[in-house]
Symmetry: C2
Subunit: 153 residues, 2 copies
């Protein structure tokens, strides 16, 4: 019913990929490698990475040996920041952040509901960092490995 745009979805995976390869902030990852690993069109990734750069979530290093790297340690980057950079606003409906959007705010009962739901999401995504995602990812992968191992034996 509510759609996270592909930008937000792909952007989160792009950032998680950079986080996986994050060492000290100096080693850059080229988009081609993200594109291959995440199976997302490189042309589209190029567009998605721009707002991430503008919002200082990634650093770009041009030229040979260059690429992109996280601007900060994964534990210092919240999912809400990524989504905010990519989708502009952080709410289900425009009127929650732009009071001019809807002239009916004063009397609109649905507004209250969209507002609270937006806050729910904001809280949830505000408490998840890239580091958390890495840990979820690791847990998931070790589980898979364990599974396939027990199958083979």
């Amino acid at each position: 019913m509510i759609r996270l745009s592909t930008k937000g979805r792909y952007g989160a995976r792009l950032m998680l990929n950079l986080a996986h390869h994050y060492k000290n902030g100096n080693e850059a990852v080229i988009l081609k490698s993200v594109s291959d690993e995440e199976e997302i069109s490189i042309r589209y990734l190029e567009q998605i990475v721009i707002p991430l750069k503008i919002n200082r979530l990634v650093k770009s290093i041009r030229g040979a040996g260059g690429g992109y790297t996280l601007a900060r340690h994964p534990s210092k980057i919240k999912l809400s920041e990524i989504l905010h950079a990519l989708e502009g606003s952080c709410c289900l409906v425009e009127c929650v952040e732009d009071s001019d959007f809807c002239s009916r705010m004063g009397i609109c009962a649905t507004y209250e509901v969209w507002k609270k739901a937006s806050d729910l999401l904001k809280d949830y995504f505000g408490n998840i960092t890239l580091q958390d995602l890495i840990e979820i990812s690791n847990r998931k992968n070790t589980k898979i490995k364990a599974k396939s191992k027990s199958k083979n034996n």
Copy 2:
């Protein structure tokens, strides 16, 4: 960052409008009146009301004197049902309900997060009925009246 489509937004207001005029289920409201009161294009409302009818949330009465009315008492219609009817699925990303959508589900760490966020919303909207919205609306309006009265005195 996450957008509730206009269908969902307008649909919720359409349903709330019908709820306001709900008597016993026999008195129909014409879309023109909803269109005027809610300031939504009548042509667009016509399209939005169809899935609501298919999902048996409203009843239509054709011909002169006809219109639309809620299929059940406002307290028996959940917001989640309305959104489900209008947006098809009830989740932030397709992969949550359609496992074929994303081939990476098994290893995708972001999936877990979208899934939990979807559940948060599902729970929230599943606990709000049209009756609740009516009450929110009434509280809001009496507040406004009280305010404008105190201004005039």
